[in-house]
Symmetry: C3
Subunit: 339 residues, 3 copies
């Protein structure tokens, strides 16, 4: 199998529903013990501009299981600092341009991965995902997005697999994406990717967040359209209690307010005023014995209480394990393996 409409995995939108189902079936077969040597004699180049635990761990292990070898580079630490803007005179800190970084690594490796968090300074620029876009343009081999300014498709696939395992057919089920407090303003790549993922399942999706923490309007519009097409719905609310009522699955995640994007000192008091947005036992008691999901890393006592994350309905370790199986399925597909 390889993707029909895209050489790369940049966002989940690159994949049709059939392709996602096929990837999840492939992931499940790897979990069931399937082995493949799709990357035999090949290497994969992973470029991390930001820290990682699950993404590196799962992709390195997946590459090795497929017979390949992962080369991990961290520009600014063990490799040269990278310039991502075009047409600039490079007389500052950056010694290498992303055109060369992508171009060179594509000559050495069969697949490339890139992690590039947003600048958190200019919302429009971050929304355009400039670093990933340039990297894809200058790579001549398939690129897998290891979390960009805007998207985290590998996480979304693992989330979808975890949902499928727990909920089965999600049609008619209530899935809550709940904002949670965090001391710093975080990117929206994970909540936006989960929102799209959840909307595509046909579930009733409820997004709960305090006033001022709306997700980007285009993401909401797209989710509405997706849900309509898939027989589900998307609701936005500031009422946490109502949102959790009867929920079958709760996905907790903190994100920055786009109203104060780049001026987060002004957001801080509003953020602080919502410290009570933690997922704890009393919140979960409102649900229909809902599963608890979070992409990790998670701040205990801040995003979620110990009792919830350590409780029987916490699926966070299953989610993280599914990162391995879905990474195997994605690399296998990008390398041209059969479904």
């Amino acid at each position: 199998m390889s993707f029909e409409s895209s050489r790369d995995l940049a966002t989940l939108s690159d994949l049709s529903d059939a392709e996602i189902e096929s990837l999840l079936d492939s992931a499940a077969s790897f979990r069931d013990g399937r082995r493949a040597s799709t990357l035999d004699g090949k290497s994969v180049g992973f470029l991390f501009l930001n820290p990682s635990l699950r993404t590196r761990s799962s992709l390195e292990a997946a590459t090795a299981r497929l017979g390949g070898y992962p080369v991990v580079l961290s520009p600014g630490k063990d490799a040269w600092r990278i310039e991502t803007r075009d047409g600039v005179v490079m007389d500052g800190d950056a010694a290498e341009h992303i055109r060369e970084a992508a171009g060179v690594l594509a000559r050495h490796h069969a697949i490339l991965g890139l992690r590039c968090f947003p600048s958190m300074e200019d919302a429009a620029e971050d929304a355009a995902d400039p670093v990933l876009t340039a990297f894809r343009e200058f790579s001549t081999v398939p690129v897998v997005n290891m979390e960009s300014a805007r998207w985290h498709p590998l996480q979304a696939l693992a989330d979808r697999m975890t949902m499928r395992d727990d909920l089965g057919d999600a049609a008619g089920k209530t899935v809550v994406l709940s904002w949670a407090y965090h001391p710093s303003p975080l990117p929206t790549a994970v909540p936006e990717s989960f929102l799209e993922t959840a909307a595509r399942t046909g579930a009733r999706v409820v997004v709960a967040h305090p006033e001022g923490f709306d997700l980007p309007l285009d993401a909401i519009s797209a989710a509405h359209a997706t849900a309509d097409a898939c027989g589900g719905s998307v609701e936005i609310t500031h009422d946490r209690d109502a949102a959790f009522a009867g929920a079958d699955l709760v996905y907790a995640k903190s994100w920055a307010s786009h109203r104060w994007y780049g001026r987060f000192d002004q957001e801080q008091p509003i953020r602080q005023a919502n410290r009570h947005w933690i997922v704890n036992e009393s919140m979960m008691a409102r649900t229909n014995d809902a599963a608890f999901l979070h992409c990790l890393p998670v701040r205990r006592g801040v995003i979620v209480s110990d009792a919830v994350i350590d409780g029987p309905r916490s699926l966070v370790l299953d989610q993280a394990e599914n990162r391995l199986w879905t990474a195997l399925a994605v690399l296998h597909a990008l390398a041209g393996g059969d479904a």
Copy 2:
């Protein structure tokens, strides 16, 4: 073979004498050219909270030789900073809890390794080895201690192999563990582990250090009991000259004074006053042509003179080489391989 009493290799005390002998035989067979593919298709996750050269080099090479793939993560550098205390509100620097770090990596890998040096602030807390203990609790796969606050069993195994190669049966031989000067207060994981190792050989073990640099009392008591059971003895002395007299093996190591634990500015003048505790040719001339051992890294001209470490009885490179063979034996055993 797998360990009888422990799923993990946390400390040498986890192993019976027979298990140690079996591991050393296995290590020697790997040195003699034996090959095994115990880790074929599997990965091992190594989490380094502190720097490393020999430990990483030997464990990565050993994993690869067994057909496996090592994933190396350094929280705070390329992965998220880790919280190790339980029940805290994580609103500080640490983005990830060790419960999730251990739990997730255990889902991705067949074996985990952890390096976690002591805080050097609270002696009782360090003695309880809290980070390793938590990591073992939350890992669902075997854990190998890559040097914790209190123990360094991989080093102790390589030391034991080196002793066995050089001394043969150590009964009746004199083995000196000598404190040496170092500009900073260092952990006691290596000297405590060596003390136990040496006591289990049945040798006459002499620990020499300046006043005030006693090893922890429980380590000394345990070593006495071990030596009694194994037909050897343990002596403690502040008289270096007497200690080295007739010695068959000298193990040099610096360590911090536990009297001033956490208040090392007050220890500094006492430490400085013992700068003459260097192992040089005149000290070695008192011995019975003793072998010289040190775990490395070592500060030349401070811990040991160039003439001694470059001399014919220096076994430091053999020790370091034995890190590879014993790592192979340990990973092979933890993965369920035959002895």
Copy 3:
């Protein structure tokens, strides 16, 4: 094949012309799909004292393609800071001596690599390549120079392969090594290595640089002698326009002035005054449709214009790709593989 006159690849001078041709043929055969398992069951230890992208990427991938496993260590980051001077009392920052670092790694791995940039403080010391020299002395296995204070033979081999592909027989061709502006004073390892490489092809080699930026005299003398022996020539000029006239290949590179070595604050105004030494379209228009080469990383808009590096005669990505094929050939040869 293995090298006749040297166990190591320290500098291109270690290799005869026949050996270089044989390595390039071997590299080309790997590019054509040849596979080998020369490093099966073996590991290679790569010690990086400085950042890297192409060198790490190519050597890790090459090691894996030959069936081996690369262990990458970065002293001062994930491993201990290394002392390189002999006979010193190590009571400063460095915890490990290069004697032990090289000695230990040679016990664990089949081949070692070292990257050690110059101090840029003492020209005579840097010219003696003290770190590489010590590392080679204390390693008991073959050492490959991954760019030292003075030489970068892996780059020179890839450059030679790229020249051979583009120019065919270089006799009678004009090859320009052109200094270019860069905000910082850079080492001369690449330009010196390229100068020797180019001189050995029998080409007419023209070195163009502003006044005060002469390459070391011994390098120039050696290049003259080499060119004489190979039927070529070496010219030095400060006249860029004349140098580029009719050139068949332009190699751009910035380097520090040896006149102000270690006093680069005094060099800064002279450097700044030569900001116009950029390779742009008007300069390339003077050439015989010359190929453009640079070792990368390169500062766009500073060393070279976007139009030139993105143009049809830019071979920088081919050069970088050839790093992989030549690395395969070198590791294969150092491991004792057939040509």
